[in-house]
C-alpha cells in the first residue's frame, strides 16, 4: 500500500521500516497518521453550478462510485464540508455567494475548480457576466480541465487532492494556511456592483500574468 502512513523520523530508512512492518510494527508520526486519515474522508459540498454538476453527480453514482475514495458524503451545508467543487460557470451574480460559501466552510478546506468555466471562464469567457476563473477570489488547490470533465477526471482530481493532503505539514513554514497566523482564513466577499464585481479580483490571490514578449 503506497498510501499507508510512513515514518517521519530521518534515522529510520525505508528498508528498516518495511522490515518492522513485516513484524507487525507500524512506525509513523502523528502528522502523517492524521493526514492519512483525513485524506480518505474528504466530504464535498453538494453544490452544483452548471453542466459540470451533472458529471459530478454522475461521479457519485454507481458506475463511477466516488465512494471508493471516501468522498460519497455530499453535504448540503458548508459547515460540514471539507471540499468545495466549483462545478460550472461562475457568473458575476453568483460570485459573492460562492465566496461566502467558501468562507462558511471550516478549515482545513480545499477547493477543486472543475471544468474550463471554473478555471478561466471557458467557452463563455467573452461574456459580460462571466467570471474569468474562480481563483480570482478563492484559493484553488486542484484544476480539472474539460468541458465538462469526465467523471474519471474528477476522480483523478480527487486522488491528486488526497496526495496533496497527505503531503501537508502541521507545523513549520510549510504549514497550511489555517495553521499560520499571518494568513487570512476568510476572504473578502466581492459585491455585485452596477457594472462589475467590486473589487474585480482579490489581489492577494490573483494577479494578471505578466507576458514577456521576445524582442
Amino acid at each position: 500500500m503506497s498510501d499507508t502512513p510512513a515514518a517521519a523520523h530521518p534515522d529510520i530508512d525505508q528498508a528498516t521500516r518495511d522490515e518492522l512492518r513485516r513484524q507487525g510494527i507500524l512506525l509513523t508520526s502523528m502528522e502523517e497518521l492524521y493526514n492519512w486519515g483525513r485524506s480518505h474522508s474528504v466530504w464535498p459540498l453538494q453544490f452544483g453550478l452548471a453542466c459540470c454538476a451533472i458529471e459530478m453527480i454522475a461521479a457519485s453514482m454507481a458506475k463511477f462510485d466516488i465512494a471508493r475514495f471516501g468522498s460519497e458524503v455530499f453535504r448540503p451545508s458548508p459547515r460540514q464540508a471539507d471540499l468545495l467543487i466549483v462545478s460550472g460557470t461562475v457568473t458575476k451574480k453568483m460570485t459573492p455567494q460562492v465566496v461566502r460559501l467558501w468562507n462558511q466552510m471550516p478549515e482545513p478546506k480545499y477547493c477543486i475548480a472543475m471544468g474550463a468555466c471554473a478555471i478561466s471562464g471557458g467557452p463563455f469567457k467573452q461574456g459580460y457576466n462571466v467570471l474569468k476563473g474562480i481563483d480570482r477570489f478563492i484559493p484553488v488547490d486542484i484544476y480539472i480541465p474539460g468541458c465538462p470533465p469526465r467523471p474519471e477526471a474528477l476522480l483523478n482530481g480527487l486522488l491528486a487532492l488526497q496526495e496533496k493532503i497527505r503531503a501537508q505539514k502541521l507545523s513549520g513554514p510549510d504549514a497550511p494556511r489555517h495553521l499560520r497566523a499571518d494568513d487570512p482564513c476568510e476572504y473578502p466577499v466581492p459585491e455585485f456592483g452596477e457594472h462589475d464585481l467590486l473589487p474585480t479580483k482579490n489581489p492577494v490571490l490573483w494577479q494578471a500574468p505578466i507576458i514577456v514578449r521576445k524582442e
Binding site: 453538494q46 453544490f47 452544483g48 453550478l49 452548471a50 453542466c51 454538476a53 451533472i54 458529471e55 453527480i57 454522475a58 453514482m61 454507481a62 458506475k63 448540503p76 460550472g88 460557470t89 457568473t91 451574480k93 453568483m94 455567494q97 460559501l101 467557452p123 463563455f124 467573452q126 461574456g127 459580460y128 457576466n129 462571466v130 468541458c147 465538462p148 469526465r150
Partner: protein, 390 residues
C-alpha cells in the same frame, strides 16, 4: 428519587405563561431558498413567503447562471454557435442541436438527406429517454428517496451516454448536428448497440415502475399537489409534458410534423388532473412511446449520405431574412429565432427555452401548498438552469 420522572416546569409565582404560537400568530416568514440549495436543481432562488408552512407568495429570482448565450451567438459565426447550444440544456444537447440546425436550415433553405433525418429522430428520442429517466430519478430524490431511484436512473443514463460518446466523441456536449445533416455516420455496431439498448429499455421501465409508480408515499406526496389548469397552461405558453399532463393535446411532433415523425405512428399520452403525479406519469408513458418510435426507426433506417453534399459549413453566409425553427424537446418547445443580415454572424439570435416558460407558472402551482411540496413541484416542472438563464 426516580430518575425517569421528567423535570417539571414550575413558573415563578406571578409570571405570566403564554403559549409560544400566540406570539407569532399571523406573522409571515420570508425564506430565501437558493441559489445554493440542493433541491433547486442548480442556482435557482425562490423568495418564499410562508404562513406557518403554507406558501402565500413565491418570487423566483433568476440570473445566477446567465452566461450571455444570445450575445455570444450574435458575435460568432453560425457554426460556432452549435457547441454553445449543447450547453443550453446540458442534459439534452442533441435536441438543442437539432432545433438550432432546423432554424438555420430554414434560414438558408437547405435540405437534409433521408438518413440524417432518421438519425436525428433516433438521437432525439434517445435524448428524450435520457431526460425523462433523469427527471424521474431527481423527482424521487426531491421526495426524499435519496439514492436508489437516482442511481437506477443514472445507470440507464450512462448506457445512453456511452452511445453518444461512441458516436460523437463526447458524453454530454455532443455537437453532432450540422446544417444540412449530421457530422458522422454511425457504424453498424453502434446501430446494433443502440437497438439492443432500445429493446431492453422497456424492461428497465417495467422494473422502475414496479418500484415507484404504485408507491404509496409517492402517490400521497404528488397526487393533487401543484394542480395546473389547462386554461392557465395554454395562456402561459407552457409546452411539453407539462402541458400534456393537463390534458391538452399539443405535441409539436404531430402539430408541426417536422423531420420524419409523420412516418412513425405513435400515440401522445395525455394527463387528466394536471397534478405532479400526472406530470410524472406522462414522462413514463412518453418514454414507452419513444421506444416504439426508436424501434420503427431502426427497422427502416435507409442508407445514403448523412449530409447534404451542397451544404456549406465554412464561410457560411445565409441571405438576409429571418427564421424560427422549433422542435418538441424533452422539456417542451425549444426554438431558435434567427435574423440574418447577410454577414457570417446572425444579426439577432434568440432562444425560446421551454424551461423558462414552463417555470413562469411556478407561483400559481405553489400557492397554498407547503414548502416541502414546492420542492417536488419544482422538480416536476423539470428545469435546467443553463436554459432558464441562458
Amino acid at each position: 428519587m426516580n430518575e425517569l420522572t421528567p423535570p417539571s416546569f414550575n413558573p415563578p409565582s406571578g409570571a405570566q405563561v403564554r403559549a409560544v404560537h400566540d406570539a407569532f400568530h399571523g406573522d409571515l416568514l420570508e425564506v430565501s431558498m437558493g441559489p445554493h440549495h440542493p433541491s433547486t436543481h442548480g442556482v435557482f432562488r425562490m423568495m418564499v413567503t410562508l404562513d406557518g408552512e403554507t406558501i402565500v407568495k413565491l418570487k423566483p429570482v433568476f440570473g445566477y447562471l446567465h452566461r450571455n448565450h444570445e450575445k455570444l451567438g450574435e458575435n460568432t459565426t453560425y457554426l460556432s454557435s452549435m457547441p454553445y447550444t449543447d450547453r443550453l440544456d446540458y442534459l439534452n444537447s442533441m435536441t438543442n442541436n437539432w432545433a438550432y440546425a432546423l432554424a438555420v436550415e430554414k434560414l438558408a433553405g437547405q435540405s437534409v438527406p433521408e438518413r440524417a433525418e432518421y438519425l436525428r429522430v433516433i438521437l432525439a428520442e434517445l435524448t428524450r429517454l435520457l431526460n425523462h429517466t433523469c427527471l424521474a430519478g431527481f423527482l424521487l430524490q426531491d421526495c426524499g428517496a435519496s439514492g436508489t431511484p437516482l442511481m437506477y436512473a443514472f445507470r440507464e443514463r450512462e448506457k445512453i451516454l456511452d452511445l453518444f460518446e461512441a458516436l460523437s466523441g463526447s458524453r454530454m456536449m455532443c455537437n453532432y448536428q450540422r446544417f444540412g445533416g449530421c457530422r458522422v455516420d454511425p457504424s453498424p455496431e453502434w446501430l446494433t448497440a443502440a437497438q439492443s439498448l432500445t429493446d431492453g429499455y422497456g424492461r428497465f421501465l417495467d422494473e422502475y415502475e414496479s418500484l415507484i409508480t404504485q408507491n404509496e408515499i409517492l402517490m400521497a406526496r404528488t397526487q393533487g399537489v401543484g394542480v395546473l389548469s389547462p386554461a392557465l397552461a395554454v395562456s402561459a405558453g407552457v409546452t411539453g409534458p407539462m402541458l400534456r399532463a393537463t390534458g391538452v393535446n399539443y405535441d409539436l411532433r404531430k402539430v408541426d410534423a417536422y423531420g420524419f415523425y409523420p412516418r412513425f405512428p405513435f400515440r401522445v399520452p395525455l394527463g387528466d388532473h394536471g397534478d405532479t403525479y400526472d406530470r410524472y406519469m406522462i414522462r413514463i408513458l412518453e418514454m414507452r412511446e419513444s421506444i416504439t418510435i426508436l424501434q420503427q426507426a431502426f427497422r427502416t433506417l435507409p442508407s445514403g449520405p448523412i449530409i447534404d453534399p451542397k451544404a456549406k459549413l465554412r464561410g457560411f453566409r445565409p441571405k438576409p431574412g429571418e427564421a424560427y425553427g422549433r422542435i418538441e424537446g424533452p422539456k417542451g418547445e425549444i426554438g431558435f429565432y434567427l435574423i440574418s443580415d447577410g454577414s457570417p454572424n446572425p444579426y439577432r439570435y434568440r432562444v425560446r427555452p421551454p424551461s423558462l416558460v414552463n417555470l413562469t407558472i411556478l407561483e400559481d402551482l405553489c400557492l397554498g401548498q407547503t414548502l416541502a411540496d414546492a420542492v417536488i413541484i419544482l422538480g416536476s416542472i423539470d428545469i435546467v438552469l443553463g436554459e432558464v438563464d441562458r
